[in-house]
Subunit: 375 residues, 2 copies
Amino acid sequence: MPARLTSPSSAPVRQSSVRAHNLALVLHTVANSTDRPSRAAVAAITGLTRATVSALVDDLVAGGLLTEVEPPPRTGAGRPAVGLAVSAAGPAGLGLEINVDYLAACVVDLTGTVRQRFAEHADQRPADPGQALTMLGRLAARARLAAEADGLIVAGAALAVPGLVADDGLVRVAPNLGWQDVDAPALLGAVPELADLPITVDNEANLAALGELRVTGGDPTFLYVSGEVGIGAGLVLGGELYRGVRGWSGEIGHVTVFPDGRPCRCGARGCLEQYAGQEALAGDEPLAAAALGIALSAVVNLLDVPVIVLGGAYAPLFATLRPGIEEELARRVLTSGMAPVVLRPATLGPDAAMRGAADTVIRAVRDDPAAWLRR
Amino acid sequence: MPARLTSPSSAPVRQSSVRAHNLALVLHTVANSTDRPSRAAVAAITGLTRATVSALVDDLVAGGLLTEVEPPPRTGAGRPAVGLAVSAAGPAGLGLEINVDYLAACVVDLTGTVRQRFAEHADQRPADPGQALTMLGRLAARARLAAEADGLIVAGAALAVPGLVADDGLVRVAPNLGWQDVDAPALLGAVPELADLPITVDNEANLAALGELRVTGGDPTFLYVSGEVGIGAGLVLGGELYRGVRGWSGEIGHVTVFPDGRPCRCGARGCLEQYAGQEALAGDEPLAAAALGIALSAVVNLLDVPVIVLGGAYAPLFATLRPGIEEELARRVLTSGMAPVVLRPATLGPDAAMRGAADTVIRAVRDDPAAWLRR
């Protein structure tokens, strides 16, 4: 019904959506500046009028998203204008991770700085999902309280799990935790100190890959491999996480490397996980690097991915694993003679998934500051 | 220099680009109509004025891209308007394929109908690239002459090869043909009857996947597997062919299925090609379906691709191969219990690559009819 689009009642909607767009534009402009731009500089970059920029900046400062700082040194004449920077004392993201042998929580502020970090090492497999998520919830509550004592406001939480996650946050299956159809947001939200927070859930390798992409910048196309007891992968193609049609991509731990090999928890035989998972790494058969090399060669032959990032437990073992992996890549990738594959350790190390999780919260605030200001 | 954008000299450029856009819009509108729309119907669909549509249609009819036909039957009063259809007597695409044991050429008209088809079965491996491409060029010349005797005008040629192709049409490597750095467009263009044609080259599995996507419509995300002496794959994600960063994706034939298995021409051991390539299919060890199932399980675990299309020599063997492949998929794909993978034979059968090649020529004309009219 096109008539509705031009009716007077829609005008305020459109004005508020323009304002929301411009608030995000101003916030991004300041965040992406290498110096501390003045209101006039933001106006020049965005093409908005100085009056519009000033009004938007005032709202962002009042809402704790921007802060006024010393201007950058200038050599010309005239009084230097006040500079702007993203606030380190406003909204923050709570990043959570549960894995087979640890629980962890961190708080990251709007500038991307990790302000709190808590971790507990304990085997989660005997615990039922409710117990495990209650333990994690208590750790998260400690991180939140510490951050809020430090002047931050936690805007939301995101949880990284080693499993397949549906759009609504339901963990469909996490084989190494023994979870099936676990409503993780509800169980976490049952911890009283978290009851008011929006909570999202995603696969840990996906979040780690997003962390690697966004927090560190870098290559637009790579495979992130996360070595834990299970092995997951996050595939970034042209700057976008490729989730697959149903969100189930990246299950590299269940790629077959030896068809008649060791039985896997998933029911198959010879899965990569049985040769290069954390438990196999602790054993005495040195198959991890070769098995990884065989599975990664399949990825490169199929997808022509030029960069592979090793994260999780693989990050600290990078130097040990590298020669064996590179030997298999050189032998098994059809194009290895034309252009070798670049192998590197995760920049964020073992915290990548949790950092990526916190970053999704921060990014949501930065992408829609109007929603934060309306809260 | 923004000033140049508003200078009077740029106005004709912009006008001609608007006309080019509108010519394509009108041609696509007619092509995508299930009936034979009148000029007035095209104006109503596109939002262009009837005068503009009439002028554009006149140019497209004069250029052999559209034709005037009987109007669809109508029940209302008034004289029925003349209908429009894509012309079956205008520009056409020459699709070529070279593989280890055959050469083939087809001509497809603008409506997508195959008008000529020539194939020769002969082992190309002893031949050097120049000899092989001269033989193919002669076959292509016969197809072109037959098509032109039938009133068509061949607009260009596209060649499908079982190998890695650079952007400029150079075949970097085609292991099963024994080719390395072969300038296929130049060698084909040396055949006098083809000297005037634009010639492009692409990987045969990529072209077959595009053919499957465009010619038959259907699933937006699938893996097309082309079984020849070598095995290639074309990966379509969300309606787009995923070529990889350097255009080298889809080398499923060199995915390892048995790490210490049979030696492959590529230098590795245990490549899929050695168990499910055409020569292995002709042998007595019935490993083809299991090997395919192992490699395809890796694809699904990594990419969450819901549909696999078997083409080339696999299309006629589909019923034989299916149970063995499905058994491995059920066992090895982590999510097989949640949603089984759909396996189906290629709709275009063994001609898919050649049809896809011809379609790229047709599509180029349909996407930029102005360039064709200017020729």
